[in-house]
């Protein structure tokens, strides 16, 4: 058996899962199961949000280890599902390493994404629906939707420019809050607070905070604490961005 090939397969699978935003325990478990199915009784994957280490001992007594560095990434539920499905299949069918590797590559290459207009419509809808949910009028929802759309556009542009996460959320929240205040000033919106809350919901790190607490409770302390720090910093940068817009509006229009 080609144990180097197996090590590559396991590390690539883990990389794919983590890159699409899977939880830490899922990545570790998947790697372990895969290696177990291919005849490694004991493997030690160690995963934190930006690093994967896979190590195991071959039956000949050789220790093989691979380290993969993970850049910052988003969440793609569709990819998580497909990688997870592939992992189950590989564990059940145990195909040859070449075939497994090519199936894995296949998933990465045939990534299904929503088209740009659909994505922007989703950003619009998120902000508008939240504004209504918190008690805004329909005009407010329209303003929030515009803010959400601006957030989506800015996020896409800044991601293309490789801006870091905190700068991204600060800039986007400042932009959407400023738009909300400007539209209220022009008379289109009436409750600027609700508009701002609605349009910043797509940026708020509530989700990563919940996931972080979960990791801590599951015993993945390093991963959990890293994610809590990340969530807190993102939250602070959203607040800073919004605060900047509020201050600017006060200077401009005295509201």
């Amino acid at each position: 058996m080609d144990y180097y090939g197996l090590l590559n397969l396991a590390a690539d699978l883990g990389y794919g899962l983590l890159e699409s935003g899977a939880e830490i325990y899922r990545v570790e478990e998947s790697i372990q199961r895969l290696l177990h199915a291919y005849g490694i009784p004991r493997a030690d994957p160690f995963v934190i949000p930006n690093c994967i280490i896979v190590s195991f001992r071959t039956p000949q007594g050789q220790t093989l280890t691979q380290v993969r560095r993970m850049p910052s990434h988003g969440t793609d539920v569709d990819l998580i599902e497909r990688y997870n499905d592939l992992c189950r299949r590989l564990c059940r069918e145990i195909p040859s390493l070449e075939e497994a590797q090519s199936r894995l590559k296949d998933i990465g290459q045939t990534r299904r994404c929503y088209s740009f207009p659909v994505l922007m419509a989703a950003y619009f809808a998120v902000a508008a629906a939240f504004c209504l949910l918190f008690g805004g009028l329909f005009r407010d929802a329209l303003c929030a939707g515009i803010g959400g759309l601006a957030t989506g556009l800015a996020l896409t542009a800044l991601t293309l420019l490789h801006a870091n996460l905190f700068f991204k959320s600060m800039l986007c929240s400042a932009l959407s809050a400023f738009l909300a205040l400007a539209l209220t000033h022009l008379g289109l919106g009436s409750h600027s607070q609700l508009i701002i809350i609605g349009s910043m919901m797509a940026l708020v790190p509530g989700l990563s905070f919940t996931n972080a607490i979960r990791d801590v409770m599951a015993g993945d302390m390093v991963a959990g604490i890293t994610k809590i720090a990340d969530a807190l910093l993102t939250g602070i940068s959203v607040a800073l961005g919004t605060g900047f817009a509020l201050g600017l509006a006060r200077v401009l229009w005295g509201v």
């Binding site: 899977a22 939880e23 899922r26 969440t75 793609d76 539920v77 569709d78 990819l79 998580i80 599902e81 997870n84 299904r112 994404c113 929503y114 659909v118 994505l119 419509a121 989703a122 950003y123 619009f124 809808a125 998120v126 629906a129 939240f130 209504l132 949910l133 918190f134 607070q193 701002i196 809350i197 910043m200 919901m201 797509a202 708020v204 509530g206 989700l207 905070f209 919940t210 996931n211 607490i213 979960r214 409770m217 939250g235 959203v238 607040a239 919004t242 605060g243 509020l246 201050g247």
Partner: protein
């Protein structure tokens, strides 16, 4: 009419926002419907438990538990990882308002109000996390109990 105002409309909006979030997180096909229904269910539980619990932290906890149970059931039925659906369905509960008001108090220099709303927001987020955790830990315990009874300890 009042029923529509207080229950139906918010649930509808929660449904819409979850569906839109599902698109942003690249959920496909029927999964969108599953996520959106989860979001609507969570908000419904949040609203319905108000007279009973009378504290929004406890209500948030109840809603998080309801969504997690729903997500676990749907994951079993559709044979997909549970988290994707759960994450998206929980998003409408995230205390965005709390974060905003905390920030506003901080800018205005109202230290007391700032601290109060900060701790309250933290409490809300914690309630969601604990609710999610309670269900997922219970499910894991149940699964390992089953495995050990069948004699093949993991």
């Amino acid at each position: 009419m009042e029923l529509i105002q207080t229950y139906l409309l918010p649930v509808l909006f929660a449904f819409a926002s979850s569906a839109a979030f599902a698109v942003i997180y690249n959920v496909r096909g029927q999964g969108i419907l599953v996520c959106a229904t989860g979001g609507a269910l969570g908000w419904l539980v949040y609203l319905l438990s108000a007279p009973l619990l009378q504290s929004d932290i406890a209500q948030m906890f109840a809603a998080a538990v309801a969504i997690s149970v729903y997500a676990e059931v749907m994951a079993r039925i559709r044979k997909f990882p549970v988290t994707g659906y759960q994450m998206v369905a929980i998003l409408p509960l995230v205390p965005g308002g709390g974060i905003y008001y905390t920030m506003e108090h901080a800018i205005n220099g109202e230290i007391d109000a700032f601290l109060a709303s900060f701790l309250h927001t933290l409490g809300l987020a914690g309630a969601i996390a604990v609710g999610v955790l309670l269900v997922s830990s219970s499910v894991r315990m149940y699964q390992s109990f089953h495995l050990s009874r069948r004699g093949n300890r993991p």
